[in-house]
Symmetry: C2
Subunit: 162 residues, 2 copies
DNA sequence: GCCAATAGGTTATAGAGTAACATATCTGCC
DNA sequence: GGCAGATATGTTACTCTATAACCTATTGGC
């Protein structure tokens, strides 16, 4: 059984971007929070592809897109907002950020990360989530957040090496 | 079912330290690599408790223990060695390092991390590991390393709040 | 239109990690 | 023992990541 993830396959990525921004707008309206120009722009840049982007990379991209140059706190505040709203995830192992394809629902932040092409594939496996919660429970541990970061080679990159 | 992890219970921690250092010495001898004074000292400091320590914290501890002041590359090289030998793990979400209680065997780096007391509990759940590998396989992904970092409250800290 | 709250701008600095090169120490070999 | 090559550590400087503190601008409700 081999289900190639969207992130790894040829696809209409404009569609991904459009959907993500649309979902973000709706979510922010329904929650009564403000998706400002800056926040939207940062989210759009993050969605440029399925690869996590660092804060400083985003700063450079902002500087090119706009005339204005943005200082670190500005971009970090936008990132903090997007994280709080569950619109993006932080990939700890890369110090980088990636868009969440299903904001508004539960986020366990489970990723497969390719060390060659840099793509990060978000998993949605309730069973895995349940098992982690179960294991934690057995240790008397109260789970607040989870971060599973599996590093290796995606199907494309592993295939190219053989 | 509730198995309080060692890290969270009262225990003879000198025993933990002793065992860890003994295991490290044996492992290094059997592999023909050099567990130098510095590396041993760093490992010992990391094992002071069951809480991850940052590289700069370790530097300060080294400076206090010895007269000599150690520069970042020195401590990072020791940490790199210990990581390579599987004697410690890196906790990405904390930018910190913690001793591995079972070096020499497979390391999946699965942790429960308490945000209050800072303790990090290493899990040893082959079933969980298998499931992660299975999920990755279904996406055609070749796993090289895993990092599961579950944050929340340990049994002690959760109990103290109720 | 005013006020309080929220968002963004600015400067400076803290924290984490590494590159590049110099020196020391440890082997194995003669 | 002494030498050579490999391994380990010291040193300086720097890059990358993130935040503190303070100020200004914008927004939305009254």
């Amino acid at each position: 059984m081999d289900h190639t993830p969207i992130a790894c396959s040829h696809h209409d990525h404009d569609h991904c971007i459009h959907d993500a921004l649309e979902a973000a707008r709706n979510l922010c309206v329904s929650r009564g929070v403000r998706l400002t120009d800056l926040r939207l722009q940062v989210l759009e840049l993050i969605w440029q592809n399925h690869k996590p982007l660092g804060a400083y990379t985003l700063m450079e991209m902002l500087a090119k897109a706009n005339t204005r140059r943005v200082a670190p706190p500005t971009v970090y505040r936008a990132l903090d907002f997007l994280l709080e709203q569950g619109l993006i995830h932080r990939i700890n192992v890369l110090n980088a950020f990636i868009g969440c394809p299903s904001p508004g629902t539960k986020h366990q932040s489970h990723f497969l990360i390719c060390r060659t092409c840099g793509v990060a594939i978000e998993l949605d496996e309730p069973t895995l989530n349940q098992q982690i919660l179960q294991v934690a429970k057995e240790s008397g541990f109260t789970v607040e957040t989870q971060a599973l970061e599996v590093s290796g080679l995606c199907a494309n990159c592993a295939g190219a090496n053989t």
